[in-house]
């Protein structure tokens, strides 16, 4: 059984086929990348997997469970969590508060317990705090925990995006352009972070324009163009693929 299995997924916006008839699978424990020019449909694919938008047709199965009809929050409960291309970090909260919200699903406080503020409620909150601190430690951001998230430098905001998602304890983590706008040093740190995340046993799906990062880290690469999956394979195969070269170099030549 495939870890994540996408079959014949399609979505169009008006006349634009953002995703057309995409089928692909991701195996447990690997890092895969999805690349393609601007507007190729990469973010749309993440939106469809996580229920942010509904597919016109097709299916998404995660560990055997059909997810294409589920709301986003239920998909998170199954263990599929994504970050957003535009930084989303609860801009008015502190770093610690934001990461604590990520651990919401593991907080079992009932309404009565919280109204009474009893031992159970306090313990759960403390757990959430401890867990959030662990994650900030893991991300190398522990010293920033009391800052308001929007005051963080850009690179740290991109890392916080991931920290919040990690707090959910996902099985499959989908990252939408985590290294966008980063300088080479920051990209390198991002690469290290993604590797470390994989080592904890989390499967990673990556959308990225930074080819060095993609080719360095991915076990397999999928290439989208105009909503269609035009190639898939190991990084070296993708590098040598004629269709892919045409899409990238052809566009550049005509630009």
């Amino acid at each position: 059984m495939d870890f994540l299995k996408i079959s014949n997924l399609s979505k169009s916006y008006g006349g634009v086929n953002a995703n057309s008839d995409i089928s692909l699978s991701i195996q447990e424990g690997e890092i895969v990348s999805i690349i393609g020019p601007n507007g190729a449909g990469k973010t749309t694919l993440f939106d469809l997997i996580t229920g942010v938008t509904r597919a016109d047709s097709g299916s998404v199965r995660f560990q055997g469970t059909e997810m294409s009809h589920l709301p986003t929050s239920d998909i998170a409960k199954l263990g599929v969590v994504r970050t957003f291309q535009q930084t989303k970090i609860f801009r008015d909260l502190t770093v610690l508060e934001a990461v604590m919200i990520g651990h919401h699903l593991h907080d079992s406080t009932t309404l009565w317990q919280s109204l009474l503020a009893n031992r159970a409620a306090r313990d759960q909150k403390q757990n959430k705090r401890d867990h959030a601190l662990e994650i900030l430690e893991f991300m190398g951001m522990a010293d920033m925990r009391d800052l308001i998230t929007q005051n963080l430098p850009y690179g740290e905001q991109k890392l916080l995006n991931i920290a919040i998602a990690l707090a959910v304890e996902p099985k499959l983590l989908l990252l939408d352009e985590p290294a966008a706008g980063m300088n080479p040093m920051e990209s390198l740190r991002m690469l290290g972070t993604i590797r470390k995340i994989q080592e904890t046993g989390i499967t990673v799906g990556l959308v990225e324009h930074n080819m060095r990062l993609v080719m360095n880290i991915s076990e397999r690469v999928f290439v989208l163009d105009y909503g269609e999956l035009i190639a898939e394979g190991k990084p070296e195969e993708i590098r040598a693929n004629h269709k892919v070269i045409e899409v990238y170099l052809g566009r550049q030549a005509s630009a």
Partner: protein, 318 residues
């Protein structure tokens, strides 16, 4: 100094107030303030924590008042039964109204609640057989008397009623503080700040908004019940759009997104009309100006102003 000391002193001071200022007129204002605190703090859950503007809080207040009054007048239920039932009925109406209106947000949500506010007043006016319409409902019993160790305390008197209402207010404040401090309050804030991000972390924005709305409207019902059995006469005039706007003003002037904010706002806006009575209709102009000034210069309300001073005085690294 223990952490609870300042709060304890404030509560003791508040408890002493009606003994010190023991004229009926002052005691009346204090009871009104306590009821308004319950209303403003409960409305603050919607305005401050799910970030929506409800213009129907006066209507839920009215639903609580009429439910409680009618249960006692028509069915002869005791206060101890009528009070929780009025809380439940306001909360249940909140649930029903929440289903369509919580799908909306921003201006659209505000307009939906505005519509409901209008409908409730129209119903109270037109269900004459039940409510006596615009003439109002007289003869509502007081909560009754409590026999305690040979003492008999009548809640028809202002002083005991103040303490009854105050006890309810304290319970409401504690419940709301606890609700907002743990899992659910955090989820409300997450939903308010970014509902798409919240959902992708497993928070259920729909359920959060509904929970906040139902609890908020149920507490308005509690305030309504207290009001009905205090004044012993209710009419639609007390539960109009004007009342709803007045309550929103308390929350915003005091400071939304906190509990103390609406509390302070309620106390100030209950006292102010008495202070400004000499100004006649001009007082409404003064409220309007106050609201404008606060919104422009103090977006976080009076509480925000206090916070600013604190931060300026606080040592670095705190």
């Amino acid at each position: 100094m223990p952490r609870f000391a300042p709060k304890g002193i404030l509560i003791l001071a508040a408890l002493a107030m009606p003994l010190v200022f023991n004229e009926a007129f002052y005691q009346h204002i204090m009871i009104a303030a306590v009821i308004n605190v319950i209303l403003a703090v409960s409305l603050g859950i919607i305005v401050g924590y799910i970030g929506e503007l409800s213009l129907a809080h006066g209507a839920f207040y009215g639903i609580g008042a009429y439910t409680s009054a009618l249960l006692m007048v028509k069915l002869g239920l005791p206060f101890v039964a009528a009070f929780p039932l009025s809380v439940a009925s306001a909360g249940f109406m909140g649930f029903i109204i929440g289903i369509p209106s919580l799908r909306l947000s921003g201006h659209y949500f505000a307009i939906a609640t505005l519509g409901f506010q209008g409908i409730v007043v129209l119903l109270i006016i037109n269900l004459v057989d039940l409510t006596r319409g615009p003439m109002g409902l007289p003869g509502i019993p007081s909560p009754g008397t409590l026999n305690l160790f040979g003492w008999s305390i009548s809640f028809g008197d202002k002083l005991p009623f103040f303490y009854l209402a105050f006890a309810v207010m304290i319970v409401v404040l504690i419940l709301v503080r606890n609700l907002l401090r743990y899992k659910f309050g955090e989820a409300f804030i997450a939903t308010r700040e970014d509902s798409l991000l919240a959902a992708s972390l497993g928070v259920q924005p729909r359920n959060c908004r509904m929970l906040a709305f139902v609890i908020s409207t149920a507490l308005a019902g509690a305030a309504g019940s207290l009001y009905a059995h205090y004044t012993m006469f209710i009419s639609p005039d007390s539960f109009t759009l004007g009342e709803s706007i007045y309550l929103v003003t308390m929350v915003i002037i005091g400071g939304r997104g906190t509990i103390v904010g609406p509390l302070i706002g309620a106390v100030i806006l209950t006292g102010l009309p008495e202070v400004l009575r000499f100004a006649g209709d001009l007082q409404f102009v003064i409220y309007g100006l106050m609201l404008m000034l606060v919104v422009i210069f103090l977006p976080k309300g009076i509480v925000g102003l206090v916070d600013q001073f604190k931060q300026r005085g606080a040592p670095l690294g705190n």
